[in-house]
């Protein structure tokens, strides 16, 4: 007990990053089981609400992985994701969340090793940061809710 197993939610795009993760699997490349994948059609579909909700529900880190710039299946979804991500990263620190708990990266369909590296690096850096223990509301102050 007491070994910190971080919970990391990774939103991966259907066309590149999920395929990359799939390839990592078929090549039997080990990556940490702490990374939980959620497949979405495009990184541009990641509403910042999803990220906030993941933190609220106890994620220690959130990753958004999409196609490399220029490779988006929907042309510019990943660029939109990048812009949203950069603004969200700036804001999330105001909520006391270290911006390293949030990661955006690009993994192409063939880049199994890149997926392994990104996933394991994220796990390592979250382990160094420790558990997030989000306690936005101190519910104990008011009772009878």
């Amino acid at each position: 007990m007491d070994v910190f197993e971080p919970k990391i939610v990774a939103f991966v795009c259907n066309w590149c990053s999920y395929a990359g993760a799939d390839k990592a699997g078929s090549l039997k490349l080990d990556y940490s089981a702490d990374v939980k994948l959620i497949r979405i059609m495009c990184s541009g579909r990641v509403d910042p609400q999803f990220v906030m909700d993941a933190f609220r529900e106890g994620a220690d880190g959130v990753m958004v992985l999409g196609c490399h710039p220029g490779d988006c299946h929907y042309r510019t979804g990943n660029i939109k994701a990048m812009k949203r991500f950069m603004l969200l990263e700036k804001m999330i620190t105001q909520f006391g969340i270290d911006s390293n708990r949030l990661k955006l990266d690009w993994v192409a369909a063939g880049e199994a090793e890149q997926f392994q590296k990104v996933a394991n690096t994220m796990v390592k850096s979250i382990k160094e940061l420790g558990p997030l223990k989000i306690e936005g509301f101190v519910k104990s102050e008011v009772t009878n809710v």
Binding site: D47, P48, Q49, V51, M52, D53, F55, R56, P69, T76, I79, K80, M82, K83, R84, F85, M86, L87, L88, K90, M91, Q94, F95, G96, I97, L132, K133, I134, E135, G136, F137, V138, E141, V142, N144, V145
Partner: protein
């Protein structure tokens, strides 16, 4: 038949919501003719003991404005909940935390240090800070406790309806009062304002180009604002896309952008995150460097996108260090 009883109360608020009731102008006479106001600290001389003496459920509706920051506010709203059949969260602070909930981005310790020790205008050589108990001439006096967090009303009690706005506009207040008096009540938990975004009824919507591109974020003091053109198309942050309709656009008509006081629509769980989703893709440039430069214009994203809604956000408050 006796007239329905109505109570008003204010918690952590500025008094603007009380002002909004007065803004009903001559229509307030119709309201007063139709109801008995039994508790309204800002205007009438009823005491808490009068409220305590009332039968449970005997008040038809309690309109409560302001956020919950102290134990006293918690106590009174729980009392009102017991005495009232319906509770309406009146205004942005009660509904979403409002401006006071911006304090959730900092904490009690920092607020007290600033207010009672470090602010240049403070003269406090004995280092006095508010305590919940003090002894004066052998008597113990009690004061309310200041909580770590600013709560919205429904964090503390069950709320039946929400009237959004900072402050709610008279027309919506009147509609709500009439609906309650006539028993034409919407489903419990309803926000008593149209469930669509402000842009849908904004006169400037027509002027919005197909694709908005923002090269540089501007403030209203930086440029001469075109009174006809969409604010976002002028590079000014306008919360319209992430904000509920129903206010009648007094800010837009005054050539000021929406700051989001009506909160999000029903389909949105987090106003600030939604605004990020809307605003960020409009920024010019496809590479990180260009975007980073454009983002320099957004100095305080949380304070801008959650100006009235930190308590009502998904996270509710900044992370606190816990054991």
């Amino acid at each position: 038949m006796s007239k329905p009883k109505v109570a008003f109360y204010w918690c952590a608020s500025c008094g603007g919501c009380e002002e909004a009731v007065v803004d009903l102008a001559e229509r307030i006479l119709d309201v007063v003719a139709a109801v008995d106001i039994v508790f309204w600290p800002v205007a009438l001389d009823f005491k808490v003991k009068h409220l305590e003496a009332m039968q449970d459920g005997s008040i038809a509706v309690a309109f409560i404005n302001g956020a919950i920051r102290t134990s006293e506010q918690e106590h009174i709203v729980k009392l009102l909940r017991k005495k009232a059949g319906l509770v309406v969260a009146f205004g942005a602070c009660a509904a979403l935390g409002g401006i006071p909930s911006l304090a959730n981005l900092t904490n009690k310790e920092k607020i007290f240090n600033r207010s009672y020790h470090n602010s240049p205008s403070v003269d406090n050589p004995t280092g006095t800070v508010p305590k919940t108990e003090t002894i004066v001439d052998g008597h113990t006096l009690k004061l309310p406790e200041f909580y770590e967090t600013v709560y919205k009303l429904d964090d503390v009690i069950d709320v039946d309806y929400y009237l959004p706005g900072c402050a709610p506009v008279p027309d919506l207040i009147m509609e709500a009062v009439l609906a309650i008096l006539e028993g034409k009540l919407p489903p419990k938990g309803a926000i008593l304002s149209p469930d669509k975004s402000l842009c849908s009824s904004c006169d400037r919507n027509e002027s919005k180009p197909e694709d908005i591109t923002i090269g540089e974020i501007k403030r209203v003091i930086d440029i001469e604002v075109d009174p006809e053109k969409c604010f976002l198309a002028q590079g000014i942050i306008c919360m319209g896309p992430a904000t509920r309709d129903g206010c009648g656009e007094p800010c837009i008509n005054g050539n000021m952008p929406c700051t989001g006081c009506f909160g999000p629509t029903d389909s949105c769980r987090d106003q600030g995150a939604k605004m990020i989703a809307t605003l960020a893709p409009l920024l010019e440039g496809d590479d990180e460097e260009a975007v980073r430069k454009a983002l320099e214009g957004i100095i305080d994203p949380a304070g801008t996108f959650y100006r009235y809604a930190v308590s009502g956000s998904l996270l509710g408050a900044a992370r606190k260090e816990v054991e």
